[in-house]
């Protein structure tokens, strides 16, 4: 019993600072809580005296006024202190929630691609939402219920024992059952809720899919199939709900029953004691009130343990992320390094993805000097994107080194390194924000002219200006949805706006039609004739405009040269692209 408790406490260690920072607030809150408990126990005392006075006929209207005034005053104080503790202790929990979430978020931002490759977005979201909520519950309601339950429980039992030890013993017979039941059932309930929630998510996903794929369903006249899928997902949810309801239907009535069995015991034995004159009628009444006061702490004890357990599990899961050491970090020495040209040298680089046996890159040697445009060709899975991801240190190579202007990239501060590289990814990720913010990301030093120039270069300016709100148009589900090609052009614009030393285009023009692509690349290459450009594409027209072409296959560089010599030499490149040239097909239609 002792060991798990210590372990649980250890899980909450990251919250220590929050407790220290809020110690006065917490102390005052707990003080108020104790005051409330004390005052609550006074009410039955007054009641007892009133009833006794009435029984023995010594009560007068004057005395009654005193008693009723006493109850009113005690209650007023209870209300005041209850307000204070709620504000202090629960407010603390809300604060913990905010700080912990900020901390988690900022830590998550430092983690590298390898973390995001092995962790689902949904899982991270669950940490930030559900787990933090569970920690908040444990540190707010959990703390309160624990203190409250122990204090008021102990005190009420004390008063009861004072009235009659034997009656107390009898009336507490159901107590262990209540605690046990609360514990078992709250666990069962939360498991049930989880299952319901899961089946609901699955239902949601099924419905989403049915609507997202409606054209397929309709065109193949498979409405009945889709409907059946939704129906069965719905039925699973219904079944889970009904299963949960069985637990719920039993829990609360059973709780009430057990507490009321205490009442039955009091009537049976307490009544007997009252008749025999061992206790007064007032004692009898007060006893019933104390028993009522005990109900909550008894239920809470079972509930609180679960609350702490859940909180501890959640805290452990959060800690797992917080303890995740960013595998890609800035060098110790954060002094800026002189980078002015943008020469890239890749030396003997190898890379293998975790849990894969085949290396994604093996012994890659490549150098690209400033002012050159290099194109990388190869099939899907040949290692092109992996190689490119190593340059801005989205991942670090297993062995070998990458140098920019002769500096090992691990020695360059991460921010500086990434700022000198413009990387346009395959999938154009656009944020649900205005077009302007998608380009500037809050940087105020970017002028209107720069924005316009970048948009024009990406051939996106006129389309933006046609929108009623122009640059202030909000994108995303709640705003304007861009087509794939539009997203890619915006992604190009937001990258070239910073005029980076090194530009990497990772097959990021695939959804733009050939003619527009030509125009964009022409302008880019002319504009950037002094800088370094690396382009990956499947389109021959794109590849052909590079100064030199590197062909990759199975993680290795197999051919290098300019486009004419490669087509002529009958190697992999010519095999891949000859047919495309012969048919005059550029992968993209005539418009």
């Amino acid at each position: 019993m002792n060991l798990p408790l210590v372990k649980t406490a250890k899980d909450f260690l990251p919250l220590k600072q929050y407790f220290i920072d809020n110690r006065y607030r917490l102390a005052f809150g707990l003080f108020s809580l104790l005051t409330v408990d004390f005052l609550q126990l006074m009410v039955p005392v007054v009641l007892k005296r009133a009833v006794d006075d009435l029984t023995y006929k010594i009560a007068t209207p004057g005395i009654l006024v005193k008693y009723s005034a006493a109850i009113l005053i005690i209650s007023l104080l209870i209300a005041l202190f209850r307000y204070t503790w709620r504000l202090c202790v629960m407010g603390f929990a809300v604060k913990v929630e905010e700080r912990l979430r900020n901390r988690l978020f900022s830590h998550l931002q430092t983690l590298s691609m390898s973390f995001y490759l092995r962790t689902k977005t949904g899982d991270i979201m669950a940490r930030s939402i559900n787990d933090i909520r569970a920690v908040k519950m444990a540190s707010g309601m959990g703390l309160v219920s624990l203190v409250d339950g122990i204090v008021i429980g102990a005190a009420a039992v004390g008063f009861m024992i004072y009235i009659s030890p034997s009656l107390t013993a009898f009336s507490l017979i159901p107590a262990p059952f209540i605690i046990l039941m609360a514990r078992i059932h709250t666990k069962k309930m939360s498991r049930g809720y989880d299952k319901v929630q899961k089946s609901f998510s699955e239902l949601t996903e099924t419905v989403r899919e049915a609507f997202a794929g409606i054209r397929v369903v309709k065109s193949f006249a498979r409405e009945r199939w889709a409907s059946e899928k939704v129906r069965s997902a719905g039925l699973v949810n219904v079944t889970e709900n009904i299963k949960l309801s069985r637990t719920l239907a039993l829990f609360f009535p059973a709780m009430t029953m057990f507490t009321n069995i205490g009442l039955a015991v009091v009537i049976l034995f307490g009544g007997r004691l009252a008749i025999l004159g061992d206790i007064t009628t007032g004692d009898f009444v007060a006893f019933i009130v104390y028993l009522n006061l005990l109900t909550w702490p008894m239920m809470a004890m079972g509930w609180v343990t679960n609350l702490f357990q859940r909180g501890a599990v959640s805290m452990r899961r959060i800690n797992n992320i917080l303890n995740e050491i960013p595998d890609i970090a800035s060098p110790e020495n954060t002094a800026l390094i002189e980078i002015s040209r943008g020469d890239i040298t890749i030396k003997n680089v190898c890379f293998t993805y975790p849990e894969k046996s085949e290396p994604a890159l093996s012994h890659i040697n490549l150098s690209v000097s400033a002012g050159r445009t290099v194109s990388i060709a190869g099939k899907v899975g040949s290692g092109k994107s992996t190689l490119l991801n190593l340059i801005p240190r989205l991942m670090d190579p297993e062995s070998g080194s990458i140098l920019i202007d002769g500096h090992e990239i691990r020695d360059i501060p991460l921010g500086q390194l990434r700022e000198s590289i413009g990387f346009i990814t395959q999938e154009a990720f656009i944020f649900s924000d205005t077009i302007r913010n998608n380009m500037t990301f809050g940087r105020e030093d970017i002028t209107e002219e720069q924005i316009e120039k970048a948009l024009r270069c990406a051939r996106f300016y006129d389309e933006v200006m046609d929108l009623p709100l122009g640059l202030e148009t909000v994108l995303g589900e709640k705003g304007v949805t861009l087509s794939g090609g539009q997203k890619q052009r915006l992604a190009i614009a937001r990258t070239i706006i910073f005029d980076p030393l090194i530009l990497i285009i990772d097959d990021s023009l695939s959804m733009i039609d050939t003619r527009t692509e030509e125009a964009i690349l022409n302008e880019l290459i002319t504009m950037r004739s002094e800088r370094t450009n690396i382009i990956v594409s499947h389109r021959l027209s794109t590849i052909s405009r590079a100064d030199s072409i590197v062909v990759m296959k199975d993680g290795k560089i197999i051919e290098t040269g300019d486009h004419e010599s490669l087509l002529g030499n009958g190697g992999e490149f010519s095999r891949l692209y000859k047919k495309q040239v012969m048919s005059g097909d550029l992968g993209e239609g005539i418009l």
């Binding site: 009133a50 009435l54 029984t55 009654l64 109850i71 209300a79 005041l80 504000l87 407010g91 809300v94 905010e98 900020n102 430092t110 983690l111 691609m113 995001y116 979201m125 939402i129 998510s201 949601t204 049915a210 609507f211 409606i214 054209r215 193949f220 899928k229 939704v230 219904v238 709900n241 009904i242 069985r246 239907a249 009535p253 009430t256 009442l263 039955a264 009537i267 009544g271 008749i275 009898f284 019933i288 190869g378 991460l414 990814t425 990720f429 944020f431 649900s432 589900e477 709640k478 990258t495 695939s510 959804m511 039609d513 050939t514 030509e518 040239v581 550029l586 992968g587 239609g589 418009l591």
Partner: protein, 707 residues
Amino acid sequence: MHGDFGYMEEGKLGKPYDMKLLKRLGEYALPYWKGICLALILAIAVTLTGLVLPYLSKVAIDRYILSSWQELRLDNPDYKYALKFKNSYPDILTFSENGESAFFHKRHTKDIDPAVLHSCREEGAISEKTYYLVNKEKLKQLESAPKPETGPVTLSDGRIALPKSFIDSLPKDTVLKVRASDFSGLVKVGVFLIFILLVSLGLNYLDYYLLECIGQNIMQDVRMKLFDHIQSRALSFINKNPVGRLVTRVTNDIENLNEMFKSVLITIFKDIFILAGIIAILLFLNWKLALISFTLLPVIFIFTLFFSRLMRNAFRTMREKVSKLNAFQQEQFAGMRIIQLLTREKYQMKIFSGFNHENYLAGMHQLKLSAVVVPVMELLSAAGVSLIIWYGGGKVISDQLSLGSLVAFISYIQMFFRPIREISEKYNTMQSAMASSERIFEFMDNGEEISEPESDADIKDKRGKIEFKNVCFSYEKGRPVLNDVSFTINPGEMVAVVGATGAGKTTIVNLIERFYDPDEGAVFLDDVDVRLLKKEDLRSRISLVMQDVFLFSGDLKENISLGKESITPEKIKEAAEEANARWFIDKLPDEFNQNMSEGGSTLSAGERQLLSFSRALAYDTDILILDEATSSVDPETERLIQDAINRMTSSRTTLVVAHRLSTIKKADSIIVMGNGRIIEQGNHEQLMAKKGRYYRLNLFRESYGEP
């Protein structure tokens, strides 16, 4: 995270109830009326058992614990009121053998007219002295005890009245024997109480379980009705609504409805019943004290109404903030690579902590309100108790209220607050449920439908000829997409449609599939207007291969057959073979059983294309519509796609929305679209010779095509 897709429709909140909506909801509940009636009866029974409990403690106190009698003296002719008493309440009196006095149980005192009681006391017919009636046999037990000061009075029923003070002074074991009937009474009350508790437990369980079953079933009925309704609507309607919104209707809004069924049926009904029950019992116990304690009611109601509105708003703001925070995080984690590449971490952190702080403030605001509500409610309850002690205590002094009733009163008043609080909390649920049901019915009532023909025509000669005759169409009024378009695709022919984005290529596909109907003109399949064909008949003759391939969760097999039973596993394999899809399917760990929700995302664009070809081939229709994908794939896969296309199109009537020159060249006829009209038509050679738009378009590509 649970499927609101960033759509939190909190803006519009309905009235807590709307008879019209409730009536429509009632229609769905109608099939379950028997169960609902049973549940209501159970709820009433549960409430009754709950109300019995405090009353039982009153019975225990008044009848058994404080059991005593008072004497009404009738031996003095001056006692006028005593006579009146005797005549008015003969039932409660037990006369002495000599008729000089009569005894009545203390618990009957409150039934006696206070004026009579008072006058009897004034004239001395009733004294404060209390007695206890003992059976003759029991008297033997008392022989050893010292005799009471006043002699015992023998009653007409043979019992003997002894002063209560005498009984109280007896040793405990004697009391046990003398008051045996009181003890057995207590046992009876205790046993009855436990019995009631068990009954209540059973009823409660049944009631809750039954209502959950009914609610869940009703919900599933509404959900399927709504889903089938939306699914059968025209695409124009479905496309107008973001998928997130449609999903919310079918999932979250329905869930809200369920909440309402449960809270209306379970809680509110029960709560109202409990309130009514408590009011009735209080009035029965002592109507004056009851009315006095009811003076608190308006205060409670006003406070509850006022604060529940504030709380509602606070909760709504909180939900809004949370969903904003979630939407932001969702995006952040999905796009982390971009953020790191653009080194925008600080900017994102600033926005995030802003949202997080807003969430904190909303939480604090809600907390401050709730920190007021609970204590004030408790305070009001305490005020009720103190009122009862003050006023009710006075009544006890003047014997107009028994002590047990006073205690019961206190218990009932404390019970009073829970239902009131619950009802005000349910107001919330009701409101959002009403808003949800309004949105659900709005969907059920609206939505254009592509109508089925009244009598479906039958095509005798299924050759696969498609014809457009003077078709005009616009998605929005005043913005024509197709303008007087006419063409014919003869059986077995392949026609390519080319043109710029927005030229109306996809619209042609939509009209053939009858996703839309033309504004003017008509589309014919085998010389029959498609509007005269049953939609299912029409669509089952056409296979549509779309640009962006949509994969359903479920295994790969199911993604090819789309659950159609007539498509056997062998047929699926053949189709995949024919579509050149076998090579990558065989490489998947579970091959045809590969789960697509897990593995689907790993398929490349080209592989997805081939999969959708398999789908079309498995359905083996005589007409094929192919919307070529624009995105580029690596040359190897490209070759497989081309090969599969050649095979598919050779034996079918085919319409291709084409992007690849190789496809276009093979077409029997090419339709060049521009601004919703057909600009040119003919085969590749003809169009090239014509040196029109098609020629110019190709000139451009030729200039880059050759090395």
